[in-house]
């Protein structure tokens, strides 16, 4: 690796996960010089996506963020074994042949169409690097069957799940939530959302839809939180598709890279396969001396992903504990009926409950239109907060609900644990900011809040967090009169017309 890097930076960011990339981009946008490094040879850290082969390698070699990895092939190894079957189906060989067509997320997420992430992408103009697919269905499990929850007005109109009066009830309930203001409904303050729902005289079927899919509540969720979640769901409806969610094309691993790209456009320097080896305070200045790959760099500030801390510092941050249990399945047939998977299927989101609502998991089913797998295959991502070191045991309660009745043709299954440290609130050991590991959430709200917090801590609240990046035509080249109208910026046909006129004159 060529090492003609500059040796002084305003900020060194270690780890290219979502949160770190966000901070790097924000700092670079306000004119800070940024060095962004990652010990891994890929972008994204615990937020990354992998092709099938690389994913298997990762599971075989545990690292700081990922452990307890395992995978099993369920289908036949190769075609020879499979000769008696008439239809040529998928084998281990054919899957591996298409390895590069997979984009397997460690931390799959969806985004609310009007949520924090989408707002941030639009506000910062990073959206031009990103591409999304609207989630096709938000589902609930009803008698072991996947049922699409009617979200939009046309869904409610077309659904056969509800009677005419139920349709009215659901629409009325949702409209009431949408119009809800803090000062209304004082009587439900301090009570649960379930109590509020029951007071609205809705039927059981509607109650299930609202609790499981729309408000995403359990029996203990407070009225205020339930209302807030319902409104988040409703506020994101009707923006991009039939459901309120978006899924990043080619996987969630694309998103950190969008932020990195913006950082690089504004002068950020990138270096992969480079770890943070040590860090000390410089004498007689506030600067930090960062040693990496045998070199010492000077930085005013350092932000680091917890898993990439040097061993000497990591002990200050407590031990690594299982944080999220993940399951990943590749199947040759989808979950849910044909109606749900029309035209080859898209993206389906399903929130699962177990132990009477005490535990929950999130299922994302991806078809090839999401850009994450070859045509004819489906990926199921299962995510739940970890309760043990055994991810498959953690998820057993959910896989049982999903796969027993529906029995999709699973070809491959993998399990792993994502870890996190218990970070002490006041860590004065080093003047270094640590980001939080990915939490269990649907969207990126917590990660963005974390990035914004750290940014504010570094640069104060007066600095804007990711202001809009100008489009190329808005940028004034040095020495140019900013109010001059150059010919090449005119619309083409007008230019041609004017040229013709000049010739005629």
């Amino acid at each position: 690796m060529s090492d003609d890097l500059p040796e002084e930076f305003d900020l060194i960011v270690v780890g290219t996960g979502f949160t770190e990339s966000c901070i790097a981009a924000a700092a670079s946008r306000i004119g800070k010089t940024v060095l962004h490094i990652d010990a891994n040879e890929y972008y994204g850290d615990a937020w990354s996506s992998f092709n099938l082969e690389a994913f298997n390698c990762l599971l075989e070699q545990p690292n700081f963020t990922l452990r307890n990895g395992s995978y099993i092939w369920h289908g036949p190894e190769s075609k020879e074994e499979n000769e008696e079957m008439e239809i040529v189906s998928w084998t281990r060989e054919t899957l591996l042949e298409k390895s590069r067509r997979f984009s397997l997320d460690l931390s799959p997420r969806v985004a609310y169409s009007d949520g924090e992430l989408v707002k941030l992408l639009i506000k910062s103009n990073i959206c031009r690097y990103a591409e999304f697919r609207a989630v096709d269905h938000v589902c609930i499990l009803s008698n072991d069957e996947l049922v699409s929850v009617p979200c939009s007005r046309s869904d409610v109109f077309n659904t056969k799940m509800l009677t005419m009066v139920e349709k009215r009830m659901l629409m009325k309930f949702l409209t009431a939530c949408n119009d809800y203001k803090e000062e209304d409904e004082l009587s439900f303050r301090g009570r649960t959302f379930l109590e509020y729902l029951q007071a609205q005289r809705v039927t059981d079927k509607i109650g299930t839809c609202v609790m499981q899919a729309i408000a995403m509540c359990d029996a203990n969720t407070s009225f205020e939180v339930g209302m807030q979640r319902t409104n988040r769901f409703l506020g994101s409806l009707g923006r991009y598709g039939n459901t309120p969610f978006l899924f990043p094309m080619y996987g969630s691993g694309e998103l950190p890279q969008c932020f990195c790209r913006l950082c690089a456009v504004f002068g950020g320097v990138y270096c992969l396969k480079r770890s943070l080896d040590g860090i000390t305070q410089a004498e007689q200045s506030n600067e930090l001396l960062v040693s990496s790959a045998g070199k010492t760099l000077r930085a005013k500030q350092v932000v680091c992903a917890p898993a990439q801390l040097p061993a000497s510092l990591a002990r200050h941050y407590g031990e690594l504990k299982p944080h999220i249990s993940r399951g990943l399945f590749i199947a040759a047939s989808p979950l849910g009926n044909e109606e749900l998977n029309k035209g080859g299927g898209g993206v389906i989101l399903l929130r699962l409950l177990a132990e009477e609502g005490a535990r929950e998991a999130c299922l994302l089913q991806l078809a090839h239109y999401s850009g994450t797998c070859p045509e004819g295959l489906y990926i199921f991502h299962l995510t739940t907060p970890a309760i043990s070191e055994d991810p498959s045991a953690d998820l057993a309660a959910f896989t049982a609900q999903l796969f027993q009745a529906n029995a999709p043709q699973i070809l491959y299954s993998a399990y792993f644990t994502l870890t996190a440290q218990t970070i002490p609130k006041t860590s004065t050991a080093m003047p270094i900011c640590c980001t939080a590991a990915p939490t269990y959430e649907l969207d990126y709200d917590a990660a963005i809040a974390n990035a914004r917090d750290i940014f504010d801590k570094l640069y104060g609240e007066a600095e804007e967090f990711l202001p809009r990046a100008p489009d190329p035509e808005e940028i004034v080249v040095e020495g140019e009169d900013p109010s001059a109208l150059r010919e090449h910026s005119l619309p083409e046909d007008l230019r041609a017309q004017l040229q013709q006129m000049d010739i005629a004159e």
Binding site: I30, V165, P470, E474, V476, L485, Q497
Partner: protein, 502 residues
């Protein structure tokens, strides 16, 4: 600050825009002047066509320019057609006495010429198609700028009409595409009806398309309207008492109520439902006689709806002995629903029948002065409908009442349930439907006058329907309450006295 990108300020951006505007204006003026000059000197050529393109692409609604384009296209096509005809008529050169060798050569040449000729005529018709294609492309581009540009749609129709080889299937695809972008653009729906008629698209297929669009977004007057045109053709009602066959009507009622329940504040579904519930929409709109009275010196006639000209209406008084045509009718009111005519040669003690356009009405003798009269109330109290449809109407009414339980102030539900009641049994539900109107006056005060008017109509309808059974019929009619402007007033020509209540 160092390292920060310099971006134009809004002030600088405004200045740039201004400069651009000036240039645009200059280009526009120059092009317009040039167009006027060329047109007045009759130069309807390609240059003129190109000049209009530049302006139309920015503003597709300059009618003048489209007119000029049409002149150019007509000039161009006329030229091409002339050239084609000239070629067809061109006589083959006659063979004269020549040596064999020369003749052979000549033949070869001729063959060559003929080949050229074929090629040329092919290029002529190809050129013709290119002219039309250019126009279609331009309208398509203009519709991208403004999808509701009347001029562009019109020009597209005009171009297709000019071309005997127009590709209507392609136009249908275009409609599909545009309705995907905006399923509510009534221009596109209108154009679709025009195109599907030309392309002879089966009505079933159109109905399926229409259903698909309603599924996407039912808040769409255009697609409901499209349905209302297709259904009576596809599922005709034998008795013409309902807009379509009862079986289909049942399905439609179910679908539209689902839409209405999903969003009761969306008026489009309710309007469609009212059309579905309206009876006899299919009846030919010919004048219908509702009351008649005649004395030896004159006759009075009342029609259901106003009739501007009585000439077409042949009205006969028929008895066993003779048939009498009544003519020279004069209007008695401004609405032209009441007419009178002069003396009639009536034979006493004969049974007369009034006949007109398929209507045959037996006349009775008036107890007062032995004049002859007949009377047909506006709506019969018991509407005839099949058991299945009645069951559907009752289910719908039940759903509406359930909904009112839940939302007692829902305007459209109140009105629709009242209409449903009247469709099921006017007499039984009369009071209850009026109660709904009174409630509506409160919850929808802006349309108070409308509801009052509707209540008066309904009161009058039932009073007229029940009148023949009262003992004072046809001498005295008792008005049902106070009326500002009496509806159905023409029905009362058979009455001698009208009593107003307080």
């Amino acid at each position: 600050m160092h390292g920060r990108v310099k971006v134009r300020t809004t002030e600088e951006e405004r200045e740039r825009k201004k400069k651009e505007q000036v240039l645009k204006m200059r280009a526009y003026r120059a092009a317009m002047t040039r167009i006027q000059i060329k047109r007045s000197s009759g130069e309807l050529d390609d240059e003129l066509l190109n000049l209009t393109v530049q302006i139309l692409l920015r503003n597709p609604d300059v009618s003048t320019l489209w007119n000029i384009r049409r002149e150019c296209v007509l000039a161009k096509t006329a030229q091409l057609q002339q050239a084609m005809q000239a070629q067809e008529k061109a006589p083959a050169p006659k063979a004269s006495e020549q040596t064999e060798k020369e003749e052979e050569e000549k033949e070869q040449e001729q063959a060559k010429e003929e080949g050229d000729g074929d090629k040329k005529s092919a290029t002529y018709s190809e050129q013709l198609q290119t002219v039309y294609a250019t126009e279609l492309d331009l309208t398509e581009q203009c519709l991208m700028v403004n999808p509701k540009s009347y001029n562009s749609w019109h020009h597209r129709c005009w171009t297709l009409e000019q071309n005997p080889e127009a590709n209507w299937q392609r136009e249908l695809q275009l409609c599909n595409k545009y309705l995907k972008f905006d399923e509510r653009n009534f221009h596109t729906w209108d154009y679709r009806r025009y195109v599907s008629a030309k392309a002879a698209v089966p009505a079933e297929q159109e109905l399926d398309f229409c259903t698909e669009k309603i599924k996407v977004n039912f808040s769409n007057y255009s697609s409901w309207h499209h349905r209302s045109l297709l259904l009576p053709k596809l599922y005709p009602n034998e008795l013409k008492e309902r807009p379509m066959s009862e079986q289909k009507l049942k399905q439609e009622l179910e679908m539209v109520l689902t839409a209405a329940f999903t969003d009761p504040n969306d008026s489009s579904a309710w309007f469609y439902q009212r059309w579905l519930l309206g009876g006899g929409v299919q009846r030919e709109e010919s004048a219908e006689i509702v009351a008649f009275r005649c004395w030896p010196h004159k006759a009075e006639l009342a029609l259901k709806t106003s009739c501007p000209e009585m000439v077409q209406l042949k009205i006969h008084l028929i008895s066993a002995q003779n048939s009498l045509e009544l003519d020279n009718w004069l209007p008695m009111d401004a609405n032209k629903t009441q007419w009178e005519c002069g003396s009639i040669d009536l034979h006493a003690n004969s049974n007369y029948i009034l006949e007109s356009d398929g209507q045959r009405l037996p006349l009775s003798v008036h107890p007062k002065d032995e004049s002859l009269y007949c009377f047909v109330p506006p709506h019969s109290i018991s509407t005839s409908c099949s058991k299945e449809l009645l069951a559907e109407l009752q289910t719908q009414l039940k759903s509406c009442m359930d909904l009112l339980d839940y939302e007692p102030d829902s305007k459209w539900t109140l009105l629709t349930s009242a209409l449903l009641m009247r469709a099921i049994d006017v007499d039984k539900y009369h009071e209850q439907s009026l109660a709904h109107l009174i409630k509506l006056e409160q919850v929808d005060a802006l349309r108070q006058g409308y509801y009052q008017d509707l209540a008066q109509r309904w009161n009058m309808e039932i009073a007229l329907a029940k009148w023949p059974e009262t003992k004072h019929f046809p001498l005295v009619f008792e008005m049902p309450g106070k009326m500002k402007r009496t509806p159905y007033v023409q029905y009362l020509i058979v009455a001698d006295a009208i009593i107003e209540c307080d």
